[in-house]
Amino acid sequence: MKQPISLIVNGERYDTLCQPNLTLLEVLRENLQLTGTKHGCELGECGACAVLLDGEPVLSCLVLAMECAGQQITTVEGLARGAELHPLQAAFADHGAAQCGYCTPGILLTAKALLERNPCPSRSEVREALSGNLCRCTGYLQILDAVDAAAQVLREEQR
């Protein structure tokens, strides 16, 4: 039986009908057509589906959509500041941190949560935070560099 559900994604309210056993990933992608969030395994192993739930990174393939009602969900579509890219997005584009780009949305959101918690992370803290996000194309180093660069921009904005 489909049930009504209302989700707040990137500050906007979406009302939809879905089976109660659908994951947040499925509802985002299939019901709300927010396909920026990717799936690589649907088993919690790759990190491609990471989104923020009230600011905390979660694997959307492991969360039921029903559980997320009322919480603030952030996906890659909600990162940009209007027409301008978020500093993390800009740094990823500039550093070549997105090759095929498939892992990128999940990594961007995981990194955003890290930088909100810890605006000045060490390299090993960044590695640690991203250790659940697999990327098969890059060597991760450009990703780490991009997170560093974005952290710096964000810190400067804070001043």
């Binding site: 089976q19 992608r29 057509q33 927010l34 396909t35 920026g36 969030t37 990717k38 799936h39 690589g40 395994c41 649907e42 088993l43 192993e45 790759c46 491609a48 996906t75 890659v76 579509e77 990162l79 940009a80 890219l85 993390l88 997005q89 800009a90 990823f92 584009a93 500039d94 550093h95 070549g96 997105a98 090759q99 095929c100 780009g101 498939y102 892992c103 990128t104 949305p105 961007l108 960044v126 590695r127 640690e128 991203l130 250790s131 659940g132 996000n133 697999l134 990327c135 098969r136 194309c137 890059t138 060597g139 991760y140 180093l141 450009q142 990703i143 780490l144």
Partner: protein, 794 residues
């Protein structure tokens, strides 16, 4: 024909100029990158914004009105005979709109049993048999369980050593051949086949005679005076691209035209395979790939899933999306085959190789062509080289091309053998290679990388620095090298359109699998037309465009950037001719410094900037079109996939090995590579980093495991099948050569494949240097390290 001068040589070492005869209308050669404005610069991807914003559309993101979801029924048995597949009950399930059996199987070695009959044999666990399309994925999955298959379950073998036994259950009753893909692989040779063992395939360097080389190798190995012989084993690796394989298939209302969105590295190979399989004209199949989440060799052709989706869509009269799940990825869409290779080297006492012999087996499951001969055949100047390869078939998923097919395996064995030989001869491993490898790029790479790495500080085997509380952590360094080929797809075509407002389009049917081909295309066109990159709009990823190369074999940049430059050059000539007429100039004007200048009544006209010049056109646009064709007069004729020149690559690794836990950590890799003219050093470096990490992951972590008792996969996921993550990455330093060879109007070669070839061997050599025990089997797991230490009494 006209004469041009082309620069040839390694920039910073020696560059001279050569005379070439080229067809009229060929653009002049570019000088080294330092003299250019757009080419050779580290330009970030022009589609970066799409990728970081979530707007880039991958196949799994495609939604079509009324779209259904497809799921594949796979065999639960590794070996069986099929009597009947009955989908009638599945069709009655809720939401189900179509269900059907796979007509014939793709991707497996071909035993001639034909494409006319229904699939009658199962030869691997996970083999696709049938499929269902339903309104939801769940409904499709539920319906799969209602498909009835009558199997005769047969004995099977998944262990390659057992498969070699005469009494082992046979995978194929008849001798087989295998079709390759644009990414390599395949084995068309008609070879002897006994039981599950097919071969030998005997090979020697080009231009030499097999029998003579075989004899000469045997004699040299007997004569010595110095030699090594050892057996090396490599595992089965799966491609594990983050986006799984899949398509969305949709037929026109009349049911005679098919559009397919595919996660592929070859839109044209998907089109051609579908047209052939479905018996429709190529012009009636359109394949679209905006973005693809990685392929690494496994995403050529339509695949069984693609065929099933097309057939389901036809039957259901509705679009069907069929994406594989992670487990299916490991099971049934290709892998890098395992191998067991015995390498024997002989050398004079001063270190000149006198013989290279490699004999061994490749384990490509139900696929043929699991070779590893490349490095042995092409890397060293040795008077006697002989390779003998056998395929060993097992009841497991077939191999596919995988980033430099055969080479990481071959290099793992050959480059460790070279290390062993160096030790035997009391020679430095770099010096041994200097004596035996005259390839100019690799010579320079060894020099540069050794210096950057600090190779002169390398300590003797087992004598490196010790750290850890008990001094249990040992450090070591090693190096290895690889080769690949300057491959080109000569019928690649590009079109450049210059519009009246000064904007420019380049159109070609390549696809981006992550390497970022849109950006070099924009760069070469911008360079030729002297305009900013932002003025160039690149359109790719659609078979309605002029044919582009498949993204495999590291051919893309080498194939399509010259065509794009030449198309831009042709469009420019058309523009200039048009301006001559419009402006009434004495002769065709020139584009220089971003502006058009000419002569009118003998007097120079004021410079007209590019966009103002375009505005003077009477036509809506001017068009240039060019085909890749010849290699700038360097060779008489370029054939598709012709081996025109060799690429190099040398990597140095520093590792730390814990003798208590057996854990190997790679601390540092210094990699020096060449790819002709690097059109975009940022993207080249991206590729090299990615290649190194895949090589590291291959060296230390990855291994597809099958259960010998059931034939099933034990680690069909990304948890137990571990690929390197952010915590595993070493420091990487890339030293890129700019090597001009006068091979085309852009002189670019590929880099994706060579970057991954030497890594595992370099790491293995470093592990040996650290602990003094050689590990000849991949992956180098803690258990293997501890066992090796124990058996050496260390």
């Amino acid at each position: 024909m006209s004469q041009i001068e082309v620069p040839v040589g390694i920039v910073g070492v020696e560059v001279h100029s050569e005379q070439r005869e080229v067809p009229d209308g060929t653009p002049p050669a570019w000088r080294e990158n330092a003299s250019l404005k757009q080419v050779g610069k580290p330009v970030p991807r022009i589609d970066g914004n799409e990728k970081v914003s979530g707007r880039a559309r991958y196949t799994s993101d495609v939604v079509r009105p009324g779209m259904l979801h497809g799921k594949v029924l796979r065999s639960p048995h590794p070996h069986a005979r099929i009597h009947r597949i009955d989908v009638s009950e599945a069709l009655k399930m809720p939401g189900v709109k179509a269900a059907l059996a796979l007509p014939h199987l793709l991707g497996i070695a071909d035993d001639g049993s034909g494409k006319t009959t229904q699939v009658q044999s199962v030869r691997y666990y996970g083999q696709p048999l049938a499929a269902v399309a339903a309104q939801t994925v769940e409904q499709a999955v539920a319906a799969l369980s209602k498909i009835k298959v009558d199997y005769d379950v047969l004995p099977f073998v998944v262990d390659p050593t057992e498969a070699r036994q005469p009494a082992a259950p046979k995978v194929f009753a008849q001798p087989v051949i295998a079709r390759g893909s644009a990414g390599g692989g395949g084995s068309k040779d008609k070879l002897n086949q006994v039981g599950n063992v097919r071969g030998p395939k005997r090979s020697v360097p080009r231009g030499r005679e097999v029998e003579k080389q075989a004899t000469q190798v045997t004699q040299a190995l007997l004569a010595g005076p110095q030699g090594v012989r050892a057996t090396y084993k490599t595992q089965v690796q799966t491609h594990s691209a983050l986006e799984t394989h899949g398509v969305v298939a949709e037929w026109s209302r009349a049911g005679d035209e098919l559009t397919v969105w595919a996660s592929t590295q070859g839109i044209f190979s998907v089109r051609d395979e579908l047209a052939e399989y479905l018996g429709i004209e190529q012009s009636k199949v359109r394949v679209i790939t905006d973005y693809c989440g990685g392929g690494f060799g496994a995403k050529f052709g339509a695949g069984n899933y693609g065929v099933l989706a097309a057939l389901l869509a036809k039957e259901a009269k509705a679009p069907v999306r069929l994406m594989l799940d992670r487990r299916e990825e490991h099971l049934a869409v290709g892998n890098r085959p395992g191998s067991e290779q015995t390498v024997a080297l002989a050398a004079s006492t001063d270190g000149k190789l006198t013989a290279i012999e490699v004999k061994g087996f490749g384990f490509g499951g139900a696929g043929a062509g699991a070779g590893f001969a490349g490095p042995a055949l092409s890397m060293y100047d040795c008077p006697a080289v002989y390779v003998e390869e056998f395929d060993v078939f097992t009841h497991s998923g077939p191999l596919a091309a995988f980033r430099a097919p055969g080479h990481p395996q071959g290099a793992f064995a050959l480059e460790q053998a070279m290390d062993e030989l160096a030790e035997r001869l009391h020679l430095d491993p770099v010096a041994l290679r200097d004596k035996n490898d005259t390839h100019p790029a690799r010579r320079e790479q060894r020099k540069r990388a050794a210096t950057a790495f600090g190779w002169q500080n390398r300590t003797a085997t087992g004598q490196g620095p010790r750290t850890g509380k008990l001094g249990e952590v040992r450090r070591g360094s090693g190096m290895a090298q690889g080769c690949w080929y300057h491959l080109v797809n000569v019928d690649s075509r590009a079109e450049v359109r210059i519009h009246r407002d000064g904007s420019v389009e380049v159109l070609t049917g390549v696809q981006d699998i992550g390497s970022g081909i849109r950006t070099p295309l924009a760069q070469v066109v911008a360079e030729e037309l002297q305009i900013p990159i932002a003025k160039v709009k690149v359109t790719i990823g659609d078979t309605r465009l002029p044919p582009g190369p498949g993204s495999g074999g590291s051919v893309t940049t080498a194939s399509i950037t010259p065509a794009a430059r030449e198309a831009a050059y042709a469009a420019k000539q058309a523009l200039l001719k048009e301006l001559q007429a419009v402006l009434g100039l004495d002769k065709v004007p020139e584009l220089t410094g971003g502006a058009v200048v000419g002569l009118k009544a003998g007097k120079p006209t004021p410079p007209l900037p590019f966009d103002k010049a375009c505005a003077r056109m009477r036509r809506t646009e001017v068009l240039g079109s060019a085909v890749r064709e010849l290699d700038y007069g360097a060779t008489a004729n370029g054939k598709r996939g012709n081996f025109l020149a060799q690429l190099g690559g040398v990597q140095f690794a520093e590792v730390e090995v814990s003798t208590l836990t057996g854990v190997v950590r790679v601390l540092r890799i210094v990699a020096s590579h060449d790819c002709g003219r690097p059109v975009n050093p940022l993207l080249v470096e991206n590729q090299i980093h990615g290649g190194i990490i895949q090589g590291l992951s291959y060296a230390l972590f990855e291994e597809r495991r099958l259960d010998p008792k059931t034939g099933r996969i034990l680690n069909g996921n990304l948890e137990q099948y571990k690929i390197a993550g952010a915590l595993d990455v070493p420091k990487i330093e890339v030293l890129l050569l700019e090597e001009l060879r006068g091979r085309s109007s852009t002189d670019a070669s590929g880099i994706g494949e060579p970057a991954t070839v030497p890594t595992a061997a370099a790491i293995a050599n470093a592990v040996y240097n650290a602990i003094g025990v050689r590990i000849r089997e991949l992956p180098i797991t803690p258990a293997k390290v501890l066992a090796a230490l124990a058996s050496a009494g260390k």
